[in-house]
Symmetry: C2
Amino acid sequence: MTTNKTFVFDVYGTLFDVHSIGKACETYFPGKGESISETWRQKQIQYTFLRQAMGKYAPFSEVTRDALRFAADLHGRPLSLKEEDRLLEAYQSLSLFPESLEVLSHLKEKGHTLIIFSNGDPLMLHPLLKKAQITNYIDHILSVDTVKQYKPTPAAYHLILDTIEEPRSDIVFLSSNGWDISGAKAFGFTTAWINRSAQPVEGLHQPPHYEYSTLNPLPTW
Amino acid sequence: MTTNKTFVFDVYGTLFDVHSIGKACETYFPGKGESISETWRQKQIQYTFLRQAMGKYAPFSEVTRDALRFAADLHGRPLSLKEEDRLLEAYQSLSLFPESLEVLSHLKEKGHTLIIFSNGDPLMLHPLLKKAQITNYIDHILSVDTVKQYKPTPAAYHLILDTIEEPRSDIVFLSSNGWDISGAKAFGFTTAWINRSAQPVEGLHQPPHYEYSTLNPLPTW
């Protein structure tokens, strides 16, 4: 009996700490790095939802720049194009969460199939994964940019089924974003919510199958 | 030469102050009414975007209950069904902004066509408008519930064109929500952003045609 499973990992907030960018933000916003990082992330996600509804897809790297610009404007300190570029470059050096590397390594050793599935377009996603030296553990790197539909649309999640032939419920979908988990659950995946910031379950009537505070419990599956 | 125009008003946040609910929230969350109101509104809007992307439409009254539940959970004080019902009932008695009534009355006197266009389903929208005694000034009350597509989808904005036969750019669309203005601008309406909380323009590359801090300048159009 094989116990090999397919694990699908979200990237931003799940494997990587998006708020590790706060330090880089401090350079241009002294004492406000954390606040900028919070607004930046919040608008980045919101703009994917809004562009999805408007039918105006733009790659995540552009959305990320637009969100940074809003955050800077909100804090009354607009950035030059060069300053924006520097912060966006720093977004390709986000820190992994402390356990990410070891968990990926353990799961890979056990023979599981590991997939990365992200809103990030290749332009920003690949340098991040390469710098963090995790590509060796990953079987497939998937980006919604292929279908130009953001999570949590069914069209986005379907990309995974186009890549591996497995029943949806056999696929374990991991994300720290509650809304991503809701979307993946509605789509039919088995979901494990990495609830890093101890949030309540989203009010979307799609509670996760499993809930952990970090990725650490995964290798014992 | 006729100068009659069609003005389309958003409801929540534009004519009515959604945060006037904060007082009612104080009953169950002493000292936290404002914070609850903020989270409630934020999740209410977010859930419309998420349900839109997931293809899981639910009426705004349900979404509003789900968002309230999340806000209560986040603050560690879950509500009973009866308490939820009371706060949702209070949502039908939101306060108009100080100038709303006079502006509607002036525009109507001048012979303009006034339309209300809201995410709110009739169940929650009609009692609110009736209690505030503004229905006499309004020519058409439109809800996205008719098409079951939330703003900012083109399908939602198209409801307005199904109601009045006018070129899009002759229709003046008013909202305090920057993202709603972005959607309406992308759709082709003439947009006036009632930027009540002095926010930066949303990073969606659809800046408003006009920007005011209240509805007061409208009667001078």
